[in-house]
């Protein structure tokens, strides 16, 4: 009776599930910002996940929905979903392997699909066409192909899972289910060679029983084993040997199938594994070992029951050769020790180094990575993804992570690099050091044998000496440059392509004689115009690939040589004037404006305490405004869309210091209310190139647009400025220097208090030259007659201490931060250092403005959080705490990216920098009296509506910043925040002649494709032979047919049979 019921149930079940999803219907939503890939050598199993996942929903009413590949995200699931209560869940585990040939392979995935279907049937989950799921998985892997480690040992683990999600609590079949697949890179199971395991042969617990679900890969099989595994751990074993029944049948090892290799009583070698009797999971590796073993003649393979007694008997009689577990994760895992009924048995497995186990391992690994020809029975291999379908994929190797140099223009010049529209190509020649450089240049024969060269140069040699030499010597033959960084350890000691005196074109000292080489190691290469493209590869495995192919094909003259093609065509040319003029010409036919270049500049953001707003007709007293300046941009010669932009010492450290100071001022706002000076915090974006942001700021101030936003607010003019304080080029030095100017206006008491409060600070003699700093423009525009400037910097009287000034090497490692271990609240040297700078500074401000001595203290956590957000992950809890949810979401796409410090072209390039600074700065300088007012979200909105001077945002709150640590459920923040686009006045003044040099006029070209490809140049003889064969063939056929035409009467050749 029971059987019939089951049968009937199955049949009805089968009719409802005849439907399947189709891989061809898959909807693919790709993420815009992928996560950085983990180091393939430091992978932990199951801890890293690729960017995308596959989900397919099923309801009994409407069948399978379309498969969706979307960015990995948490599910929202009803708490009553059956899977959460009755563990209606089944899963699979398989791996994708990237072979040396670049192909990605799956190992016998059809077996996994088959098993998944039987598991689904047993859990009364919907079934489907396994091939379709396989196709979907292939698509998923194609989308995340970059996540399959380029490694000979690491792989991509694939976890298809099927769960019952119906939100009802009855124990019954689930009407709704969800199939999903997540993938993630995993490292080798044994990173340092085989490590045999010890087993606890437990006689009490059992994993599976007849009629149970041991033969299915259901999640409910694994949860209960953890307890037993802990028992094993407590007895010094790594895994459990699962036994069953009175006879203690050996069934499995941990989560693996088990194999025992012994000499049987007849004296022949036998490999035994328990048969699929319902207690054993039909493992793919198990099947493969059986299939493989059966092709070997020296052993017999048997699937038979084996008991503990037989094993121990063989052990006693020294007939036991090896014992190992087999599973997808480890492939094979040798067993060296068993604890059984309180006794320890040291097995013979490792006595001879487990030759059979290792043989199985090596064979399978070689097959999985495609290094071995495939046995006939294993031909179920799926080879796909990067399988080159087109010839072009077999001709070129692309390096898509290369950094590239682009074109920028100013009023009179162009700088940067340019390639031809189809890319520059030439013979690849690699130069690693000075010696090789000279060998190459003296090799006249080689140079003469090719028309064009792409020189691949160690990044250490990228300086004016070598570049000039190359350009002069090779002249037109030099078609491009590729720089390479061998590894992060072999960084050059100095790498700065800014001028020796940065921004000297617009410095305060323009008309003075004294010029200092602040950046003495600067090469000025950034400001050179190269007629060829320059690229740089900074990923270690890219370099390894490059050198591998280079060595392979660079042995002799006769073999084909390696060539490189660099494509980085830049749309703009000549000067800003030319390209801005071209921008204005709209295309007559389609009336579409084509843009060739964009003016450089981001946003100038300023904020102050909201209490100090001066509304007309309130008069602002003279010399009542203190500006605190910091820059938010930097530049680097080599760009990469998803890579570090450097800028840690210049300007990130100064920016963190600045924000910390803003927090302290906000924290001590009650003190500052007691005096009448306004402190305005200003960030400038665009000063890295000729101070265009400062020019814009001064331009706004002179024209009465400062502060912008509300006409009723009293404008601030030059005469209102009391002084300027600037943080510039801070780089965690033991000493800091205070540069001041002009000596006639500086406030000696302020300086004295500062130097007393912070002994780290040294005063530079007044009237000595100023280092590169935005204040120079403020002084220049006012002829240094109006206010003093104080520049706090790590730059001493004649030298910038940053060896990587304005380059991408200026990254967190230069501040001895290990970025991979940096957490949200890690106290680092730099955060301690900033605390030591900022606290005395805020104290000085209070002392000199208010006139009282007060010890101010900032929580270390705030600085730690800022360091994490700015240097590691701009989508950090801080930004979510200080904004409301909808704004916080704008940072999601920038997950795990540091704040970019590069040349901005706002609003074309949307960088997360500006919203970040706006919200954090505004929040830090908020009106703290509102913290405790307990306004609701609606009344917060009302206030925003009624007050046009301040902004009001309802936020969750940033705990370290709240004095009263009562738990808030959100509160209203009143802050003062203004921002204005910081492009140079040259682009704002109407009819301004861009070729003039009154204002900087920098623009950045646009570009479409960047590519770097490696290929083989055919040998000369090969080319000539091909051509000659072609000509000969044509000629001969022509002659023969000519002969037939005129000297025979074959009718076919007669023009007309007349």
């Amino acid at each position: 009776m029971n059987k019939i019921c089951l049968l009937a149930l199955r049949r009805s079940y089968a009719t409802t599930s005849t439907s399947t999803f189709r891989a061809a219907d898959t909807i693919i939503k790709k993420t815009e910002h992928g996560n950085p890939k983990p180091d393939p050598n430091k992978l932990v199993f199951g801890a890293n996940f690729s960017d995308h996942m596959l989900t397919i929903k099923h309801t009994n009413a409407s069948g399978w929905e379309k498969p969706v590949i979307e960015p990995l995200k948490p599910f929202s699931i009803h708490p009553a979903a059956k899977v959460l209560h009755y563990a209606i869940e089944i899963f699979e585990g398989l791996k994708a392997y990237r072979g040396n040939d670049g192909k990605i392979r799956l190992f016998r995935p059809d077996l996994n699909m088959k098993r998944m279907l039987t598991s689904a049937e047993r859990s009364v989950l919907p079934t489907f066409d396994g091939n379709e799921l396989l196709e979907c998985i292939k698509k998923l892997i194609q989308v995340d192909a970059d996540w399959v480690p380029r490694s000979t040992s690491s792989t991509l683990y694939i976890r298809p899972t099927l769960i019952g999600t119906e939100p009802t609590l009855g124990v019954g079949a689930s009407n709704e289910s969800l199939l999903f697949v997540v993938t993630g890179p995993v490292g080798p199971y044994f990173p340092t060679g085989f490590k045999p395991v010890s087993l606890l042969a437990d006689t009490f617990h059992c994993r599976a029983f007849p009629g149970g679900v041991g033969a299915y890969k259901a999640g409910s099989n694994y949860g209960p084993t953890i307890y037993v595994n802990q028992l094993a751990h407590s007895k010094g074993c790594q895994q459990v040997l699962w036994l069953y029944g009175n006879k203690q049948h050996i069934t499995e090892v941990g989560t693996m199938n088990v194999f025992i290799y012994l000499k049987n009583k007849k004296g022949s070698n036998e490999l035994v594994t328990p048969p699929l009797n319902g207690l054993i999971l039909p493992g793919v590796t198990r099947q493969s070992i059986l299939d493989l073993g059966r092709t070997w003649k020296e052993l017999t393979v048997s699937e038979r029951e084996i008991t503990m007694d037989e094993l121990l008997e063989a052990h006693r009689e020294n007939r036991l050769l090896e014992m190992f577990g087999a599973g997808t994760a480890c492939i094979v895992c040798p067993v060296e020790r068993i604890i059984y009924e309180g006794k320890e048995y040291n097995l013979a497995t490792m006595n001879k180094g487990a030759p059979l186990t290792i043989r199985f391992h090596d064979e399978l690994v070689n097959i999985q990575f495609g290094r071995k020809p495939i046995y006939l029975f294993l031909q179920i291999f799926v080879v796909f993804c990067s399988q080159p379908k087109r010839v072009v994929d077999r001709m070129y190797i692309s390096f898509d992570r290369a950094r590239y140099c682009v074109r920028r223009l100013n009023g009179t010049h162009e700088i940067g690099c340019q390639s031809s529209i189809r890319g520059n190509s030439g013979r690849m020649y690699m130069i690693d050091n000075d010696q090789e450089f000279h060998i190459y240049l003296t090799d006249k024969k080689l140079i003469d044998s090719f028309n064009s060269f792409i020189i691949v140069l160690n990044v250490n040699l990228f300086n004016t000496y070598y570049i000039d030499y190359l350009m002069k010597h090779l002249d037109k033959k030099l078609n491009g440059l590729l720089l390479y960084l061998k590894s992060n350890l072999s960084r050059p000691l100095d790498f700065s392509h800014d001028d020796q005196c940065p921004n000297n074109r617009n410095s305060f000292y323009l008309n003075q004689t004294e010029k200092i080489n602040w950046n003495s190691k600067g090469t000025s290469l950034f400001f050179r115009s190269f007629p060829f493209p320059i690229m740089l590869i900074d990923e270690e495995d890219d370099y390894k690939r490059l050198i591998e192919f280079y060595r392979q094909f660079n042995n002799s003259q006769s073999s084909p040589a390696c060539g490189l093609e660099l494509k980085s065509f830049q749309n703009a040319a000549h000067t800003t004037k030319t390209c801005m003029k071209r921008n204005d010409i709209s295309h007559s036919l389609i009336d579409l404006q084509e843009i060739f270049c964009d003016p450089i500049g981001g946003l100038n953001i300023y904020s102050k305490l909201p209490q100090s707003i001066k509304i007309k007709p309130d008069q602002r007293s003279l010399k009542s405004v203190i500006l605190i300046l910091v820059t938010t941009d930097s530049f680097q010669m080599f760009l990469k869309p998803k890579g570090s932009t450097g800028g840690v010492q210049q300007p990130a450290t100064a920016l963190i210091t600045f924000l910390t100071l803003a927090h302290l001022i906000g924290q001590e706002q009650d003190e500052f209310k007691k005096q009448n000076k306004e402190i305005i915090f200003v960030t400038l974006d665009g000063d890295a190139l000729d101070y265009s942001a400062s020019f814009k700021f001064m331009f706004d101030m002179i024209n009465g647009y400062f502060p912008i936003g509300n006409k009723n607010e009293q404008p601030i003019k030059i005469e209102h400025i009391h002084s300027i304080i600037e943080f510039q080029s801070l780089s965690m030095t033991n000493e800091l220097w205070l540069h001041t100017h002009p000596s006639s206006l500086i406030n000696q008491t302020f300086i004295d208090i500062l130097l007393r409060n912070n002994p780290m600070i040294n005063l530079i003699r007044p009237n000595s030259p100023l280092p590169p700093a935005s204040s120079q423009i403020f002084l220049r525009q006012t002829l240094s007659l109006s206010f003093p400037v104080y520049i706090l910097s790590s730059t001493n009287q004649n030298q910038l201490l940053n060896h990587y000034y304005h380059s991408f090497f200026d990254d967190p490692s230069t501040l001895s931060i290990n970025i991979s271990t940096l957490e949200y609240n890690t106290t680092t040297e730099i955060s301690l250092w900033i605390k030591r700078i900022v606290e005395p500074f805020a104290q000085t401000l209070i002392e000199s403005l208010v006139g009282i001595k007060k010890n101010v203290i900032i929580k270390q956590e705030i600085i730690n959080n800022l360091v994490y957000c700015i240097l590691k992950n701009i989508n950090c809890p801080l930004i979510h705490n200080v904004t409301n949810q909808s704004i916080g979401n704008t940072f999601k796409p920038f997950d795990q990216t540091s704040m970019p410090f590069s040349i901005n072209t706002y609003p074309i390039s949307t960088t997360p920098t500006f919203p970040f600074i706006k919200y954090v700065l505004g929040y830090f300088l908020r009106d703290r009296s509102y913290d405790i007012q307990n306004l609701t979200k609606i009344s917060c909105k009302e206030r925003a509506y009624n007050d046009s001077f301040c902004s009001y945002t309802f936020v969750d709150g940033y705990a370290p910043s709240i004095i009263n640590e009562k738990s808030f459920s959100g509160y209203c923040v009143r802050s003062y925040l203004r921002f204005v686009q910081s492009i140079s006045p040259a682009f704002i003044i109407e009819n301004y002649d861009l070729s003039q040099t009154t204002y900087p006029a920098w623009t950045e070209s646009r570009w479409t494709t960047i590519s770097l490809r490696l290929f083989i140049i055919p040998t000369r003889t090969h080319e000539i032979v091909t051509l000659i064969i072609g000509i000969l063939l044509t000629f001969i056929s022509f002659c023969v047919l000519f002969f037939l035409r005129y000297y025979t009467k074959i009718s076919l050749f007669q023009p007309s049979s007349s």
Partner: protein
Amino acid sequence: MTIMECAGCTLIAYGVPFSMFVFTIAHHPFRVIISMTSAFFWLLSLLLSSFLWFAVVPLRTQLAFAVPFAVIFQEIFRFLFYRLIKKAEFALQRVQMQELTDKGMVFDRFAVAYASGYGFGLISGTFAIVNVLSDMTGPGTLGIFGHSQDFFIATAFLTLCVILLNTFWGVIFFTSLDKGGIHRFIGPGTVVLTHMLFSCITLVNRTLTPMYTISLIVGYAILLGMIIYTVVLRGFNLNNIRQRIN
């Protein structure tokens, strides 16, 4: 691929067919029309093969499945084209031919078979090489992954072989059908079998270290066989040729 390599490959593949066109087809408007129409029929067969390939989803990646069907479709369309020509021949015979004959437009069955085969070959050869040619733009050549450097030259020779083979297959196919009797089955049968053999041999070239020599040798051996078969079929003998030369 560099310009020299490209020029060389183009000459190899199209040099001989070009000479053939100049001396045997270009002067005869009728033959030009026939060859172009047969090319169109080949395209129809390609369309049908691609429909099949598109419909049978699970076997899309299996070239070994698509190839035999493509061959069968080609031969079916060759037969359809033959039927069409037959219809046209009767129609042409019915109208006043005198004027046309005076202008040299004789319905030469051999020439028609030849021109249709040439059209078939030209278009299938072009399809064989055009994929490769489109990927050849750029400065590099094959071989970075250890593929044979001779890929392009081998492809060119294979293309030439395809064009010539199709020409002779056309002649054999049509002539045999015209002859009737046992030839009606032997001729087309041989064509289908050799075509299938040749196409399947080229599948070998999809491995990492392709044996171009095998497919080239087989291809040209079949070509030689087809030439001999044509000669036999046409009833040429040495005397006959000597007569014609004089």
